[in-house]
């Protein structure tokens, strides 16, 4: 039970800044006031002692004068003792003793419970040196202040009178002073602690706790969290700053989420078009293969249809053949309609955003593969007549191929410019499509193994792939070619074995854009042959 309680306090100390601060503050305050009080009390005590000593001296001197006067008048020692009896009623006085010049006790009076003093070195010293001496002494009834005052004995010799004063009264007074000091100090400290606790709780701990709660909520993703700021001080500033930070975080996060969603949407779109394009390619292939035999079947049936009379017993067979052939035709047609990418809607489009989207889509993939992806597009390129989504598919396929072909540590570059980047020496090439207007050429250059002349010749055929089995569909380039052709552009593949491959896509520039000079146009057509 107590262990738990102690542990709870320990935890509070470890984890609660306010508590720790308060305890430190109180400890420091205690030490400072303690030292101050201690020195003050010590000083007070010294003063009390000095005061007592002074009182005692005056008393002793007066007494010595009185005794001398009485002795000169010839009083006996009994009479002197009577005088002393009266005096000893003085509070705190322990004993008064009169010594003759031979240090013999002439008269004495003692407070009750006080031991009778005897002439000792202190008395003798006073007698011989003829001067007053004082000393502290311990007695069973507490500390005693002794004072020996010499005086002239009748006959000219020196006698002495000793006054012993107990310090009990002073000690009591001192103890009372200590007690009141401690009590008042504790009271002040308690009040101080209480006010500090209340103050910190109200002005620091509470707002800080609110801040902590809000920060925790923000940390857990609740970015809408805000703190009410009714104050102008540093905590208010902190809260305002926090709110601003949360606000910024919220907008940044919203932007990130928006970007991620946009990316996802784009990626899904690309995947979908790619899938559709793949299926479309297959369907086209099937349609092509089936088209001719189906045409023969339906054609022959149509021939029969013209000669077989309506009421012929086998008429039904013919009708079934005709309708089923139509049905197959319908299936192929709807399959193609569904899967074929719709005709591109060509409009003037800047090329940079299209390439940029492709690059941003594939940046992560390239980083994963350890291949650098460089976008080196000059600014101020003319717009092209394009369907951005379709063209994006083209460059996506090309850059994907380039990334797959390039080994780790290599680079894939996307540039624009009229001339091929690969040198003509040892370069094989294949051109598909033909552009007969001015074009903008975009190059995708990899640092792969390159393709042989044989591989180049087959590069644009469906289902031809140089990638490992199961890696490529073999449809990336045919799809790219089809889209480029639909844009009335051309696609050229250049390759040097052991150095890399460059694919150049030439898309007609938008109407109103400056046409390329005539020689460049001829060069294009020369390449095309």
């Amino acid at each position: 039970m107590r262990g738990q309680w102690l542990r709870a306090i320990g935890n509070r100390l470890r984890h609660n800044l306010t508590t720790r601060l308060i305890i430190l503050l109180v400890l420091a305050l205690m030490v400072i006031t303690g030292i101050n009080d201690y020195t003050r009390l010590v000083h007070e005590r010294e003063q009390l002692v000095a005061q007592t000593q002074k009182d005692e001296r005056i008393f002793a001197e007066t007494l010595a004068l009185a005794v001398r006067y009485n002795l000169r008048r010839g009083r006996t020692t009994e009479e002197l003792e009577g005088l002393l009896e009266e005096i000893v009623a003085r509070p705190g006085l322990a004993a008064v003793v009169i010594y003759n010049p031979d240090a013999g006790v002439v008269a004495r009076t003692l407070a009750s419970g006080t031991e009778a003093p005897t002439p000792d070195d202190l008395v003798r010293r006073s007698l011989t040196q003829r001067e007053a001496v004082s000393a502290m002494a311990d007695s069973p009834s507490g500390r005693i202040l002794r004072y020996v005052q010499p005086f002239r004995w009748p006959g000219g010799r020196t006698a002495a009178i000793e006054v012993q004063q107990t310090l009990r009264e002073m000690e009591n007074q001192f103890r009372r002073a200590v007690r009141t000091t401690i009590i008042s100090r504790l009271l002040v400290l308690g009040l101080f602690v209480l006010s500090i606790v209340v103050l910190t709780r109200w002005s620091i701990a509470r707002p800080i706790r609110a801040l902590v709660a809000a920060a925790r909520a923000v940390g857990h993703g609740d970015l809408g969290q805000r703190i009410a700021v009714p104050r102008q001080d540093e905590i208010g500033e902190l809260a305002a700053e926090f709110n601003r930070m949360a606000e910024n975080l919220q907008t940044a996060n919203a932007e990130l989420v928006r970007q991620a969603e946009e990316r996802l949407r784009l990626e899904q779109e690309v995947q979908q078009t790619q899938k559709l394009a793949t299926v479309g390619m297959l369907a086209a292939e099937v349609a092509h293969e089936i088209g001719t035999p189906l045409n023969v079947i339906s054609g022959r049936a149509e021939v029969l249809d013209r000669v077989v009379p309506r009421d012929h017993p086998d008429r039904r067979n013919l009708d079934v053949i005709l309708s089923q052939a139509e049905r197959i035709k319908g299936i192929i047609r709807s399959l193609l309609d569904y899967t074929r990418p719709r005709r591109p809607t060509l409009r003037p489009e800047p090329i940079l955003p299209i390439i940029g989207r492709v690059a941003s889509l594939l940046m992560e993939r390239s980083q994963r593969r350890g291949v650098r992806l460089h976008l080196e597009m000059p600014i101020g390129l003319p717009s092209v007549m394009a369907d951005p989504e379709h063209l994006q598919q083209v460059f996506l396929n090309l850059v994907l191929n380039a990334l797959d072909a390039t080994e780790k540590g290599g680079a894939v570059r996307i540039t624009a410019g009229p001339d091929p980047e690969l040198p003509s020496e040892g370069r094989g090439s294949i051109l598909r499509g033909k552009a007969d207007t001015a074009t903008l050429a975009v190059h995708v250059i990899d640092e792969g193994k390159g393709l042989s002349a044989e591989e180049l010749n087959h590069a644009f055929e469906p289902f031809f792939s140089t990638k490992g089995r199961g890696q490529g569909t073999g449809l990336g380039l045919p799809i790219a070619e089809e889209i480029v052709r639909a844009h009335r552009g051309e696609i050229e593949m250049l390759s040097i074995q052991g150095r890399g491959t460059e694919v150049i896509v030439r898309i007609p520039v938008a109407d109103g854009e400056p046409l390329a000079p005539q020689p460049a146009k001829e060069e294009v057509s020369k390449d095309g042959r």
């Binding site: 086209a284 092509h288 001719t292 045409n295 023969v296 021939v303 089809e482």
Partner: protein, 129 residues
Amino acid sequence: MAKQRRSILVVDDDAEMRALLLDVLRNEGYDVVEAKDGTEAVLALRARAFDLILMDKNMPGPSGLDLLPGFRRVCPDSQVILMTAFGDVPSYIEAVEKGAAEYLFKPFRMEELRAAIAKALHIDAQSRP
């Protein structure tokens, strides 16, 4: 028949398809010659002129699209109808640009074939003095 023995060259690598087209067109009264690829077609065109060339796009060797510009140059009076698989839109555009009179997507109905031929030859007949 009202038609005065118009001549047609059928170029297709598929024997059955050729046979069907021959049967149908001969039945229509046309003078039909067949060729199984580009080479045979060129040989046939060297031997005589045709009013119409009905040619498949996809063939081993030079395709119908490859042959088209040459045919248009050598015998500009011959109309050309190209046949290809359904949905091959880019080929259609290219064929029209290269001067094909008509275009048929396989599989097509015999009525469509008749209509396309009639249209091609009619246009031709009108343009002639």
